[in-house]
Structure formats: C-alpha cells, structure tokens
Symmetry: C2
Subunit: 304 residues, 2 copies
C-alpha cells in the first residue's frame, strides 16, 4: 500500500515516523510544508523539513520535538553576546544543517536535491520531499498587520490575533520533483495531525489537485492542540476549535477522518459529511504511540 503523508512540524513528524516504522521506504513519501521557511542570520531555515528529517533519522530532541538531540548552544549564546538576534533558538548541530543548505542553495542546487542528500547522510531511507523548490512564504494577517510566519510564530509567540493567511508564491509554485508522481501512484493520502491553516493548507495550495482517498488525522483533541496555535487560530477566526471543525476544513477532499476517543461526540456529524471515521487514541506522547497510531490509520485505510 503506497502512502503519501502531508506533514508540517512536530505532530506531522511524529505520525510520519510511525508510518516509517511500518511501511518500507518505497511505500511512504512524506511531503512537507515549506511555507514556514525563512531566512535568518543569513541562513536559509526550513523548520518543518528539518523536524521531519531529524525525527525520521532519530536525531530529534525528544523533549521539544524540534531541534537536535544532545544539542549545544554555543553559537547562539555568542550571537546574543554580540547583540545579534537570538529569538530564534538555533543549536550548534542544527546550524550546520542551515549553513550547508544555504551554501548549496546559493550554488544553485534545488531544495529537493539538498534534502535528498541530507536524508542520505542522516540515513533516512523513506522519501522526504519539500512541497516545492521555489520559495513560498506563509504570511499571517493579524490585528497588528501582516506578519511573516516565524515573526508571528516564534518572535511574537502567536500573540497577535489572527485574521487570515496568505501563501506568497504558492499559486505560481511548481510541486517539487517527485511530488506529483508520488501523489499519482499513492493508494491514499494521509494528512498528518498538523495545523490545517498553516501546515497542510500551503501544501494543498501548491499541489492543487488530489484525486486519491484522503484520510486526515485531527490535530485537535478535546478542543485543544497538543502543540502549536491551531486551536487558537480557529477561535480567532470565529470557529469553535474541534475535531469537527478540522473535518469541515477538509470536507471537499476528505474520504476518511481519524479523531480521538475524547471527541467521540462529533463522530455522527462527521459521518454526515460523507466521511468515514476512525475513533481511536490519537495522542502520541510516547515513542511507541507513533507506530500504534500509524497502524490504526493504515488499517482504517485498508478497510475501505
């Protein structure tokens, strides 16, 4: 069974890791949001791609979900000492990724090739693709004006009230080499439990069309997100955050939906959207939860 998973950062990386533990390399492609990418300190940084790759490589920091395990912070501490910007916490090992990526991009290598080479160096055997090679920038419209995503997300800690989103460059972007082929040969597409607004939507904007069964895993459990601002965004946009809201969000392309036991009450309403449902334990607090949820999702897909 060939699966394509669409993923943002931490939550997406966890389910992708679970799927990678079950599916052989040729049966899983992870397409990752690059709308969060930005240039900072002269470095080209791809937070979601790096989180997915580090997680699949077993190099991710298990405490934070992002960044590297066993990380040191000598560079950023010294940047701060020199009065430079230190609000985006870059670890010493992580900076190597950004330095070498920036160097290769400036040499003219496409991002997808850089990621392919990095995955080889890190022994990531499943295919990880950026959604596109050209820059797409998620812009957050807020009550304080439009903010670049990392400015909103990290620097301003998601405090400004969200009014909408714009994906600069998404309409003109070509999907990265391999993205269309993966989508066309897939048996099903899995939307990982990532932020619908700023992780999955930018990917959908770039790939434009999906003609395969789509199973989404709700990133909202009991009205809350495990991590990140998805629930806060729904509220600020006038929508009650819930598994139902996520299913509604995706309703035009959704064939199956995975929601947490805590959200059982929404199952009937979601079924009424002509969407099959799986109610299970979707929290991935422990490493073993990842393969367990992935197994549930794959069985669910196999069942229809």
């Amino acid at each position: 069974m060939k699966i394509v998973a669409l993923a943002g950062g931490v939550g997406g990386a966890k389910l992708a890791h679970g799927l990678a533990q079950i599916l052989p390399p040729e049966e899983l492609t992870v397409i990752v949001n690059t709308g969060d990418d930005f240039e900072h300190l002269g470095l080209y940084i791809c937070p979601d791609l790096d989180t997915v790759c580090y997680t699949l490589a077993g190099l991710a920091n298990p405490e934070t979900g992002w960044g590297r395990v066993g990380e040191s912070w000598n560079t950023i501490a010294n940047v701060e000492k020199l009065g430079g910007p230190a609000w985006f916490r870059l670890g010493d090992q992580d900076i190597a990724t950004h330095l070498e990526r920036t160097r290769r991009l400036k040499e003219g290598q496409p991002l997808s090739q850089v990621i392919r080479d990095f995955c080889r160096a890190w022994d990531v055997r499943h295919t990880v693709l950026p959604m596109c090679d050209s820059p797409v920038r998620t812009m957050v419209d807020t009550d304080e004006g439009e903010l670049a995503f990392q400015e909103y997300f990290v620097h301003r800690r998601c405090e400004p009230i969200v009014k909408g989103f714009r994906f600069d460059g998404a309409e003109a972007a070509e999907p990265a080499p391999g993205v269309r082929e993966a989508l066309e040969s897939a048996d099903a597409i899995v939307f990982c439990p990532s932020n619908p607004w700023v992780s999955i939507d930018p990917i959908l904007r770039v790939v434009k069309k999906i003609n395969k069964p789509v199973v989404a895993v709700s990133p909202i459990i009991g009205g809350k997100t495990v991590k990140g601002p998805a629930a806060k965004m729904y509220t600020e946009l006038g929508i009650e955050p819930s598994a139902l809201a996520v299913a509604m969000h995706y309703r035009t392309i959704l064939t199956g939906f995975v929601l947490d036991n805590a959200d059982l009450k929404y199952e009937e309403e979601i079924k009424a959207l002509q969407v099959k449902t799986l109610v299970t334990d979707t929290l991935m607090n422990q490493l073993t939860d990842r393969a367990r949820l992935a197994t549930d999702v794959l069985h669910f897909i196999g069942s229809y």
Copy 2:
C-alpha cells in the same frame, strides 16, 4: 606616547596584546590586515581581525593562537557529515562572530563599525581597526596558478611554490575611518612580527604613506618563523629568510628594527641601512613574554 601597531594574525596579536598591557586605550591603535578575509559557507570571515580581537579580549585559544578558548566543534562536524566543506575549522563560538558580522555587513554596516561594536561586547578597550572597509583580497601567485589566500594558506597548507602576491582592491581602497587619524597622531608605528608579504604589505598598500618613525619587529628568528609561511615565502622568492631580509624588505620606511639575540650577526648590516637596532629576546612563547617584548620595543622607541 601614542603608538599605532600594524598586525596580521597570531604573531601580531601577541605583540599587540603586550602593548595593550602597557599602554592605556587612548595610546594604542591596532590596524589589522584584512587581505586574508574571505567568504566561506556564506560567512564573511576575517581571520586576522578576529585573532587580534580574541587575543586582546583574552578569548583566544592559547594552544593554537587562533580561534576561541574552550571552543566546541559541533557545527563543523555536522557540516562535514552532510558532505560540506570542513577544511576551514570553524568553532561553534567563532561561528557566532561570523554569522553576526555577515548579518551586519549585509545590513550595510561598515566592517570598522562592526569591529568597534564587537570590541565593546568583548570588553576590548584599545582601538582595533580593519585597514579598510572595502574588500581587499590577497591573491597568491604560485607554480599551480593564482590562489585566493585561504585556499593557499589553509586548504593547500602553503604547499604550492610562491611566485608573488597581488592585493585585489588595495589600490582603490580607502583606509577605514580612524586609520589616517591614528597614523597622523602617532608618535611611532610598530610593525608587529607578522608576515611582511601577506600581513604588513597589504596594510601598507592601503595606507599608502607613513610619515612617522617606523619600528619593525622581525617575524624571522634564526632563519625561521615561529608560525606561518614567511620564511618559506622568502626562500621561494629567491631570498634567504633572515632578520636582515625583513629589514631589507622594509628599508625604505624603516627607522628602527628589533631582532632576536639569535640574529645578532645581522646587526651591523642592518645598521648600515641607516636603521637603529634593538637586539633582544623576541620569542613570545609565554603570556608574560608579550608585555616584556612590548616594554623593550617601547623603551627602544623612547630612546631615539
């Protein structure tokens, strides 16, 4: 007594450090070679400036003379793991200097302002100036063709045979703000024991004219250099490397020359160049040697 010291890397930094231990901040300006500067991994790196600043700040690695004390190497190890260039060994703390400098230069700050701010952050109270704000690139003509300085120096470990030097951009370069003023108000100029060909010559090429007494300290002791390729360069250019050769090198602007006890035999020949001489112990192996040699040099200057 106002002193301007011209310096390259390690040897120059040591004497500058000695002078800084004796002279108050307003009486010492160190003008540093930037011909070794280069861009690498997207970083703007100034090896001589950083060595001088780290040394004056007490942050230099006492083992190597360059780089930072208590350094870690997590970034470069990971760049290497990704197949990136690792021949120029950048430490994690050191990378902060390059990242923040590159960021500021890209913002449009002149190098001299960046160095002034860095010196403040590092509590370096004496004035350190780059020779100029515009890029000058030392190019080494060799039997294998022309090489950029760091390519010759670090990557090729000074192995190619030297035929000459070119300082790209030096003729057009304006001395950095403060350089002319420091030279005009100085009582004497000290050429630190740095490489005459690739550390002091580029500075002289940029400042063009010096109308003050010049005292040079020989970087060649007993026909050898403590560090670096100066002796090898003299040999390859058909000149026997010696304190005499260094005095000859500078003879048109030299008023005083400091040579090591080991080179006593050259004293008369150097005096014959109408140059006053001081024969003393010029090796700076120990920290205390720096202030001792600086004291000798200052007494020598004061004596004529």
